[in-house]
């Protein structure tokens, strides 16, 4: 009989599995798995005894008294959120991408007037994605390399501060999500898959403590190495560079250089 894995037992205990009925059947006949589940439950039951202080019956009123003087007269209207600095930044990025796409479209239309406009538009869109993702992967690679090489400033220090890498990981996370979704929409499953893996690593880095012990840092490094994410990022980055070359229409300068190379 195949026993349940620890993950399956935890999923069963925490109610996060769709296979609950099958697992319950197995547990009813397998004494070993039942004993293992009991051991997990003993740990969780002990944790359940950790006390949460009761803040008092009047706690809600106290919270209100503390926040009431700081509340504006009226909540902001929904459209006002568009003018928050973070949103403005994202809007600016989208606008910049649109402008690039528009300009690229105009330039390539001059090159090949009247020919296959739809295919051209798709190429332009792909080119914009390829350039943007290529840069994003480059920045992610740099952050991961720096994190892998991080060390305490002073050898006597017990902690390594990775707050800079963390902040960069947070910024990269937002971009990564956007590119992953775009890659999925464009049907580029391979790119979407690498971006998905990268997202998990970025998430781990973003949610790590700001100061880690060398042992914790080693664990992060091991995780990066085990997933081979740096290698994958490099390979995809290189592929994107190739694709960028392939989708960039040869300029006069390039084509003359190409013919010189051919002559040689």
């Amino acid at each position: 009989m195949k026993h349940m894995t620890e993950e399956e037992l935890i999923a069963y205990r925490e109610g996060v599995t769709a296979e609950r009925a099958g697992m319950a059947r197995h547990l009813s006949v397998c004494e070993e798995c039942r004993a293992e589940l009991e051991r997990i439950e003993a740990v969780l039951a002990a944790l359940d005894t950790l006390p949460v202080p009761y803040p008092g019956d009047d706690y809600g009123q106290r919270v209100w008294q503390q926040i009431a003087p700081r509340l504006p007269e009226k909540p902001a209207e929904w459209w006002q959120s568009w003018f928050e600095p973070k949103r403005l930044g994202a809007l600016a990025a989208v606008a910049a991408m649109l402008v690039i796409a528009f300009l690229a479209g105009r330039i390539s239309r001059h090159d090949r007037p009247g020919n296959d406009v739809v295919a051209n538009k798709e190429q332009i869109r792909e080119r914009v994605l390829v350039v943007a993702v290529g840069e994003h992967l480059g920045r992610s690679e740099m952050m991961l390399v720096e994190l892998s090489n991080a060390a305490p400033r002073d050898p006597a220090q017990k902690h390594v501060n990775i707050s800079t890498e963390q902040r960069r990981a947070e910024d990269l996370l937002d971009e990564n999500r956007l590119y992953r979704q775009t890659a999925l929409q464009e049907g580029d499953a391979a790119l979407a898959s690498v971006l998905d893996e990268l997202e998990r690593v970025l998430l781990d880095v973003a949610h790590s403590p700001e100061e880690v012990t060398p042992a914790q840092l080693d664990k992060i490094r091991q995780k990066i190495e085990a997933q081979g994410i740096l290698f994958k990022v490099r390979v995809v980055g290189r592929e994107l560079q190739e694709r960028q070359k392939a989708t960039t229409p040869p300029t006069e300068h390039n084509s003359s250089r190409e013919s010189e190379r051919n002559k040689a």
């Binding site: 026993h3 925490e14 051991r39 002990a46 005894t49 202080p53 009761y54 926040i67």
Partner: protein, 217 residues
Amino acid sequence: MIRMQPSDENTRAIAESDAVAVERTLAGDRDAFRVLVERHSHNVFRLAYRMTGNRQDAEEVVQEAFLRAYQKLGQFAARANFGTWVYRIAANYAIDRMRQRKKEDTRKLEPAVHEEGTENDPVTLVHDAAPTPERLAHNIELREHMEMALAALSHSERTAFVMRHWEGCAIEEIAQVLKSSSGAAKNTVFRAVQKLRLALQPFVGRGTQARAIGTES
């Protein structure tokens, strides 16, 4: 899971009256927001305390969560689920607070032995009516180990564990707070339980040996 699950009828009634309070607040009635604060403060405090591990930070998280909820109320579309929404805001802010706290203060985790309202204290929950000094010492030691094990989790692991195990939140809800996919959120819950188990099993199940899991017999 410890979160008390209110009956469906109660949940519906609270959600409906939450929706009315949200509408009235948006119409400029600040007192309507007071109703929401007083109704949800205890739940948000419990979540915040379990995430941050100390009372001062938890109280700050509660205040900030309601302030942010008020400021963003205009963007809140699903008005019937104000409780869930403010919960999410609190969880997000608690993650920020934990990070900030780590930076500001590298003090060792204080065992919160003298907090008030410790009716669930493991020491007081010992079945034996007259605990022996050994039993007391073991329980105090166990509590310290549990607090240390929780503090050793990453912010996302602690958030995922608190939200799932103690607060009974859906995986999708946790994924939204962690800004990850549902699969990744589920894995974070597994990782948290595995780490807690590894750290605590020797103290909880003294004498019991875990089997090599996933094997065949």
